[in-house]
Symmetry: D3
Subunit: 157 residues, 6 copies
Amino acid sequence: MADKPTHLDESGAASMVDVGAKASTQRRAVAGGRITMSADALEAIRSGNAPKGDVLSTARIAGIMAAKRTADLIPLCHPIALSNVGVEFDWEATGIAVRATAATTGPTGVEMEALTAASVALLTLYDMAKALDRAMILGDIRLLEKSGGRSGDWRAE
Amino acid sequence: MADKPTHLDESGAASMVDVGAKASTQRRAVAGGRITMSADALEAIRSGNAPKGDVLSTARIAGIMAAKRTADLIPLCHPIALSNVGVEFDWEATGIAVRATAATTGPTGVEMEALTAASVALLTLYDMAKALDRAMILGDIRLLEKSGGRSGDWRAE
Amino acid sequence: MADKPTHLDESGAASMVDVGAKASTQRRAVAGGRITMSADALEAIRSGNAPKGDVLSTARIAGIMAAKRTADLIPLCHPIALSNVGVEFDWEATGIAVRATAATTGPTGVEMEALTAASVALLTLYDMAKALDRAMILGDIRLLEKSGGRSGDWRAE
Amino acid sequence: MADKPTHLDESGAASMVDVGAKASTQRRAVAGGRITMSADALEAIRSGNAPKGDVLSTARIAGIMAAKRTADLIPLCHPIALSNVGVEFDWEATGIAVRATAATTGPTGVEMEALTAASVALLTLYDMAKALDRAMILGDIRLLEKSGGRSGDWRAE
Amino acid sequence: MADKPTHLDESGAASMVDVGAKASTQRRAVAGGRITMSADALEAIRSGNAPKGDVLSTARIAGIMAAKRTADLIPLCHPIALSNVGVEFDWEATGIAVRATAATTGPTGVEMEALTAASVALLTLYDMAKALDRAMILGDIRLLEKSGGRSGDWRAE
Amino acid sequence: MADKPTHLDESGAASMVDVGAKASTQRRAVAGGRITMSADALEAIRSGNAPKGDVLSTARIAGIMAAKRTADLIPLCHPIALSNVGVEFDWEATGIAVRATAATTGPTGVEMEALTAASVALLTLYDMAKALDRAMILGDIRLLEKSGGRSGDWRAE
């Protein structure tokens, strides 16, 4: 039998999970994702980024700032005192991959912060390239690993 | 030869596109995406949503509110007076599909608003189901159609 | 038979009202409300406000700033280019009355902006006096008058 | 002689209360309020909410998200790491009652978070029903109980 | 005799200037400022920025995003639909100069948006260099030129 | 040889400094700044502020609220649970000086919070006086003192 989503109370109403009794531990999460685009758009992004263009910097800053606003965007997320956020990119044959890391010392995990950073970094890349290719696709946005907390470490297969 | 991304000036620095001279027209964009999850997690979401659970409502509201904050999240997006935002869901065999619509009357398009609504709605679904399945994947986030503006109508193939 | 709330679509899902086809007119709304408190708390607020204390100024600024964030707080409100917001207070025998005015030239009314300004101004008064009286009550928060738009002028009886 | 409001310094200037020396304890606050409306509007909200309408869900989410933004709205409130927020509704003969709960482990109370959640939930109900009844009134917004902190437990009479 | 500040009503209370009757025209403002620092800190920033470091990009994005949030920060500023924002830097002998441009088509000027962009860009530079030099100074933050609106063009001497 | 800015990783990419391993201590920072204006503008501000005008109150509240939003504005700042923020003004012969204090108990300093409060308070004064004098200059914005943390106490010369 399927479990109930944790963000619904017994009547089915949405509510934050009460973390008042959870221990404060060091927690870390890494999320990934990618944007797929045409060869032309990818080449334009690449050349726009070099030697001192701002394409990846802009997406990185957008991702970092979005991580800090996760609780403002996702209704049932707790406000979190992030101790670290980082966003990295990799050029791929058909697009750009993103990898976002978030960390905190606190009672709740930071999966949503890492996923939000990755998503907004990709959206920002889309925004900067959309005049070149409207058919770009954001995908593979998922948790890659997490550590800390009662449920222990986890890593995507 | 590849074009330059429109959000870089001649020196490669990031900047907003100047829309001061663009005509104000009715514009509309539709974006889609989906979250893929295990059968158990999907069943839990489904049952959590019925008869009066808040799962889809919560994700819908999150998406609508995020659309209104797009310019706050995506560094080079213009503030937009949205005239309409809507978010719909479809149950699929292996997850949930989202379809977000944004509209405005103004000088710039609303693709980013529709894509942001879709992304944040999916992130919210992830948040509510993450205790059931950590390996969920967000994907196929893309523009489905747009209308209005100088570049005319466009529809994904 | 009762009408349907305007913010639900035919399936019952929440959505913004599409204002894309509505005319842009000058609109104005006035909302009122009051906070009721003990004589001691009221006297402390009064004396704290004189000769140059910041009590009412703080509540006024909070109300004005909240009006500008209405679409960020109320899920289905449209972003509005407010042309004016004002917040006034009246000392009453058992508390303080607030009167907030909002105005715009646009396709939607500003009732929610005026009501939000009034509510947040009262919450701010509560915050500053709560160490003196925890039993204060916020009430009578309502629309006093509105003008502009298709539905014409309206005034509370 | 009346006490001074705690948010004014000796010169009468507004300032945050310094909580640097206060102990971190588990704190909880419950606030209530209600919206009064015509029988027709109430019936429309009720039917709009059933079987799967989004009226109460939307107001609930708005209240929860507003609680997280309290320090952004109320000038002298401290940022708080909320561990829990919940919003419940009760159908009444002449309207809808709201009851909002907030909790944290920290040096300051969460009364303002509970009151802000209740207020914004009611404003959201107003927004969704305002085309049916402009004369709705928000009232009885007040603290119902609080626990934790140096001042101990308190309950409204 | 001194004039009254425009943001006070006849009773001395703060209020937004009512721009409901002002014409919508193309408006543009340019603001400047500089941060002064030690030779060592300046050299570190310079080398950190080359060949592809993110120092100036980060400050630029911060300034652009802050311009869009001006009405959220400055209590009596009107929300503005910015059509363009740009931030440029110049290396100087003893620090870095910033020049921020904002533009809109609307009833109010964009001086505050340009000044806010310049200020937050400089604060961001301070943040990134503060471990190297705590005695850096932000100064010369001022309007350089403005055009559009009833008062016509203006240029700093 | 110059050190590297602390907010760049080894590849030159912007990132937050990881504070996960830093001790939580009481920290305090004081920042100052001033706005210089014409005698006429200064006199208008002074008279607008008396006997009960809102000029300084408005700037003070803007500064306090901005301090709480520092991590939202400065890309690589950590979210901080401020325990105290205060903003004071001094009338000077050619303008107004501001002094902002911020405090927290946590792993990171609050210099940026104090500097942001001072900057936004000055920007707010500019906004309220700009119709009287467009040539006002914001300057001398700098850290005056800081205490707490590994690097110990510091005071500007």
